[in-house]
């Protein structure tokens, strides 16, 4: 256990050292890669003037809005599709057609329809996320063990009780893990939207760095994206443990 922790820290330290040596001893030109010290200095400057926080907040807000909207639409739709076959028959062809489209392919249309403001960013996140939430929800509800439904009906449960007391809680772990996976996808959607047309957010920060030839800024933006997504994941994992206390005992 200790050996593993040491190796993890060691590998990161070795990487940083190599990076430092390569950039300060001139193995790699500063035009292509700034030194770690420059990146840290850039990060401190951005934190000082508040731009880093505002970028993180702006991007997070767009992710949250688009993701929440997608969840509100797709989770109920997925449940209905799983329990009522005509709904599935109606929606299925659209899923097949829309699923292969990466969210960036929606950028031209959404700009035309919504401009380059907040609505367009939220729309990109929504369009890139809802199908995944739908597919995961559909699978989770379809997979509910029919014996549990039988047992509930045998104990006197009606349709409403079967839905609220059996199908929903049985499908919840699958729905939540689908949401978790989709959240990471939502983040990549917002960044691609911000790279193309935005004045604010982490994606825009990276693009500014590129336009100004400030590679340290680009790297700060990239590291921030990683950390923000990791923190979101940790928060969701904690939420999952609170919402699904019984899952802790599985195997």
């Amino acid at each position: 256990m200790l050996a593993r922790v040491c190796l993890r820290i060691g590998s990161v330290a070795a990487f940083l050292l190599l990076w430092h040596v390569a950039t300060t001893w001139g193995w790699v030109s500063g035009v292509f890669l700034p030194s770690p010290a420059e990146v840290v200095a850039q990060a401190i400057a951005l934190i000082r003037d508040g731009e880093l926080w505002s970028s993180i907040l702006v991007s997070s807000g767009r992710v949250f809005a688009g993701f929440a909207l997608a969840g509100v639409v797709a989770v109920p739709l997925g449940i209905v599709m799983a329990v009522w076959w005509p709904a599935k028959a109606i929606v299925d062809p659209f899923i097949s057609l829309l699923r292969p489209l990466p969210s960036i392919t929606w950028i031209p249309l959404t700009i035309l329809w919504l401009g380059i403001g907040e609505e367009q960013k939220v729309a990109i996140v929504f369009l890139g996320s809802w199908i995944y939430i739908l597919v995961y929800t559909l699978a989770a509800v379809t997979r509910v063990d029919p014996v549990l439904v039988r047992a509930a009906r045998n104990l006197g449960a009606g349709d409403v009780a079967v839905m609220t007391q059996v199908i929903l809680p049985a499908a919840l772990p699958g729905i939540i893990s689908g949401l978790k996976i989709t959240l990471a996808i939502s983040w990549s959607c917002v960044l691609s939207a911000e790279l193309v047309a935005a004045q604010s957010g982490l994606g825009a920060l990276i693009w500014q760095g590129k336009d100004w030839g400030n590679l340290a800024l680009v790297l700060v933006g990239m590291v921030c994206i990683s950390i923000t997504v990791l923190v979101t994941d940790a928060i969701v994992a904690r939420l999952e443990r609170i919402l699904l206390p019984w899952e802790r005992h599985r195997r």
Binding site: D145, V147, L148, R150, A151, A152, R153, N154, L155, G156, A157, G158, A161, Q165, V166, P169, A170, L172, L244, P245, W246, H249, R250, R251
Partner: protein, 274 residues
């Protein structure tokens, strides 16, 4: 069929029941054909047969999970046409709700009946104690052993107070020692509550230990071949297996079952060869 059932309406009855299942484009297969049987109130009946003899299909018809193709299934004289909460089922796979605690599982049937929370708690406590699980009320099923989970499942069904208890090979997934302990518990609970039980098993020993009557089933199509009265004394204990009477009965049942098993093996061999 039995002497007791001749006197009053049987609590549970199958009248010339046939159940066909479609098999692709070929002719449908009969899981059960022209099966008639009766169960008297307070009686413990075992359906004994090899796998594939239609005994689970018959039990599922008693529960109303499936409907007979021909014939009728009657509970207290009226036909069972949909899932029947008065026939409580104990599943081989326990079928506990993993997101509910032991307490929550045992309370489920009462909740469906609209029993108040305080009353539910009181009754659940009683049944949890009946199956010796006090102290585990707040545990989730995944934290319990197989034997304990099956006891929760038994308490859950008993708490809902069904008229008939249907048990589908409930102890088949347990190890031999746990199974014996569970058989003993079931004997104790059934003798105290006088619940009517229809119990499916492929174990001759289990049938002899538990049942008042044993319906030996024949396979393909499923039929009741013979009904034996189990003359072993009550109250019964698993140690009844050591008596000479038990050995004689077991030899008799084995004789009946052996023909079936032999026939089944021959049929399989012929089919495989042809």
């Amino acid at each position: 069929m039995g002497a007791a059932s001749a006197l009053s309406t049987p609590i549970l009855a199958a009248e010339h029941v046939t159940k066909l299942y479609p098999v692709g484009r070929r002719a449908p297969v009969a899981a059960v054909r022209d099966l008639s049987m009766e169960v008297a109130e307070g009686e413990f009946v075992c359906l004994l047969g090899a796998s594939g003899c239609g005994k689970t299909t018959m039990l599922n018809m008693f529960a109303g999970f499936v409907q007979p193709t021909k014939g009728r299934v009657l509970l207290q004289g009226s036909p069972i046409t949909r899932i029947e909460p008065r026939c409580g089922m104990v599943f081989q796979s326990y079928a506990l709700f993993p997101w509910k605690t032991v307490q929550g599982n045992v309370e489920f049937g009462l909740k469906m009946q609209g029993v108040s929370a305080a009353e539910r708690r009181r009754r659940a406590k009683w049944f949890i104690e009946l199956v010796h699980l006090q102290g585990f009320e707040r545990h989730y099923p995944a934290e319990l052993s197989g034997g304990m989970q099956q006891r929760v499942s038994l308490a859950r069904v008993l708490a809902a107070d069904p008229v008939v208890l249907l048990m589908d090979e409930p102890f088949a997934a347990l190890d031999a020692m746990t199974r014996q302990a569970m058989q003993e518990e079931l004997l104790r609970i059934q003798e105290a509550s006088r619940k009517t039980v229809v119990f499916i098993t492929h174990s001759i020993d289990e049938a002899l230990i538990l049942a008042d009557r044993i319906a030996v089933m024949s396979a393909r199509p499923g039929r009741v071949k013979t009904v034996l009265k189990n003359t072993l004394p009550r109250p019964r204990h698993v140690s009844v297996q050591l008596s000479t009477e038990y050995a004689a009965l077991k030899a008799e049942v084995w004789g009946l079952v052996e023909e079936e098993v032999q026939g089944h093996i021959e049929a399989t061999v012929t089919r495989a060869g042809g």
